[in-house]
């Protein structure tokens, strides 16, 4: 049952992250599909991939995006 919740969370998190106008919110919300996919890897019998995806997708990737947003514009231009 948890697998289906994680699948829905992954897809909805991706959609919500792409519809924000504040790019810092986008950068932080990018971690939600990464975390959901990491738990999904654990349920798909791949614990080593789940460990790597949990670190890379939840911690490193949002920090990279936040640094890029800090160096460029924060709000999306019209």
């Amino acid at each position: 049952m948890i697998e289906y919740i994680l699948m829905i969370v992954a897809v909805l998190g991706a959609v919500i992250a792409l519809t924000q106008r504040d790019l810092l919110k986008t950068a932080i919300l990018t971690g939600i599909p990464g975390a959901a996919i990491a738990f999904l890897f654990q349920f798909l019998l791949a614990p080593d991939v789940a460990l790597t995806q949990a670190i890379v997708g939840t911690a490193i990737v949002p920090v990279f995006f936040a640094l890029a947003v800090k160096k460029t514009l924060r709000m999306e231009e019209e």
Binding site: T26, L44, V61
Partner: protein, 134 residues
């Protein structure tokens, strides 16, 4: 449940690839384009891991007490997992390269909109006609 977890994971991977393609093609912000490429990479990794899944199986660790035949019938297929492990790390490093190129483009053009960087129409071939400045 009507669908098993393997089929549901395939649908999730397909949905992530479609969302990423839409973002990379139709959103005008360069950072959101890069996020779309990241979702495509996540979807492909999920697809490859799902192919190695075996319903009702065990993690591919050979413990004492197992026979080789029983292990071969019940363990999930470990080769795609080892390759996806490499793919995730390489994806993070290429993401860093893409974001640094975006920062260089912002310092040069003062904008992170693709249409503003490429010109109004989005094509640069018209400016090469003779008699046209720049």
């Amino acid at each position: 449940m009507i669908i098993d977890p393997q089929l549901g994971s395939f649908f999730t991977a397909g949905a992530l690839i479609i969302i990423g393609l839409f973002a990379a093609l139709f959103i005008d912000n360069l950072i959101k384009k890069v996020i779309g490429l990241l979702f495509i990479a996540d979807g492909v990794n999920l697809f490859i891991v799902t192919m190695g899944y075996k319903a009702g199986g065990i993690v591919y660790v050979f413990l004492p007490g197992m026979t080789v035949d029983w292990f071969a019938q019940n363990a999930s297929y470990p080769l795609p997992f080892a390759l996806v492990l490499t793919s995730i790390v390489i994806g993070a490093s290429t993401l860093a390269v893409m974001l640094s190129l975006i920062i260089i483009l912002y310092k040069k053009h003062g904008s992170i909109k693709a249409s503003k960087i490429l010109g109004e129409k989005g094509n640069q071939t018209q400016s090469k006609t003779p008699g046209d400045k720049i």
